[in-house]
Assembly symmetry: C2
Homo-oligomer: 163 residues x 2
DNA sequence: CCTAACTGGTTTCATTTGTAACCATCGATA
DNA sequence: TATCGATGGTTACAAATGAAACCAGTTAGG
């Protein structure tokens, strides 16, 4: 630690541009906005709709609650996104045999087609983003995010034996 | 690189939980929401209002456009946040001598008091967040974010000679 | 000068969001 | 089996947001 410009202590002022919550938010917002243009322009999807599509495409079938948990969405967002995708006939609801409150959601053929179309675009976007960084920097951001996720108690620390 | 679980290539599916834009957004959203509780509960501020307060507290005086640039807000957000803070008598507008379109914004005594009250809370929040990480992890996330900011062209790479 | 293009900032309107209330159903229990 | 509390999901309403229209005021040309 040399003469750091980090000043989380003494001064009376807060340097917004170096304030982690702000930087994190601004970054995520910009990245998300840029990526959002992809699913918005190509299919007119909102973020909750994209996440729903993505979640169901990945897992095959889920209830609304599970979907919300997996993709970090409030239940009202899930509800509305599901309604819209259903309206498009991109997904269907299957009643549960035992519990009539629950519906099992799944993509239709059309929904799956859209999903399959989106996946490569998403991966390409991520790859292009990371490609702007050196290998070290890539590892840094990925690990950094992972460690914060763990610190927030969302995930378990990977068992020693992984990379 | 051992047997990574990273799969940005082959598979037909996208693992949302490992998709960087998603992880970044979810993380920033959670952190921001948690921090937001601080200025919301203590003073009923919205995020744009907090950023305005913070920006002016830090810089002393700015025009609305400058404020928007510094704190990454759309001009309508700035306009509304400024209006609200003015209504609270936390800031005042000073007309510019040469250009009557411009107003120089500055915090009033009351605004400054609120700012001074918030600063330690913000710093404490950031410190507590980082304290959940090891020194290495802290460096990782901070550098990772910085490198992405640079990659997006927002900042210059620090001249070799800094930490 | 007079107009046309531009800039700083506000307002309007449609959309998105969050909170809370709500409805239906389930499970436990008396 | 009647009731009470939890749970899955939707809806109503208010607030926050973004895009685009808008209103000065300013600058550059002709």
């Amino acid at each position: 630690m040399t003469a750091e410009s980090e000043d989380s202590g003494g001064s009376e002022i807060l340097d917004l541009e170096n304030f982690l919550p702000y930087r994190l938010y601004r970054l995520a917002d910009a990245v998300s906005r840029e990526f959002g243009a992809i699913y918005k322009d190509s299919h007119g999807l909102t973020r909750p709709e994209w996440r729903t599509l993505s979640g169901l495409g990945q897992r095959g079938t889920m209830t609304a609650t599970e979907l919300g948990a997996q993709s970090a969405m409030h239940k009202t967002k899930v509800s509305r996104a599901v309604a819209e995708l259903e309206r498009r006939r991109w997904l269907t609801r299957l009643p549960d045999e035992n519990d009539r409150r629950i519906e099992h959601l799944a993509l239709t053929k059309a929904g799956l087609a859209a999903y399959r179309e989106m996946v490569p675009l998403a991966k390409a976007f991520e790859r292009a983003l990371l490609a702007k960084l050196s290998a070290t920097e890539q590892a840094c951001i990925v690990n950094g995010v992972a460690s914060l996720e763990i610190a927030l108690g969302w995930k378990q620390r990977p068992s020693p034996g992984d990379t």
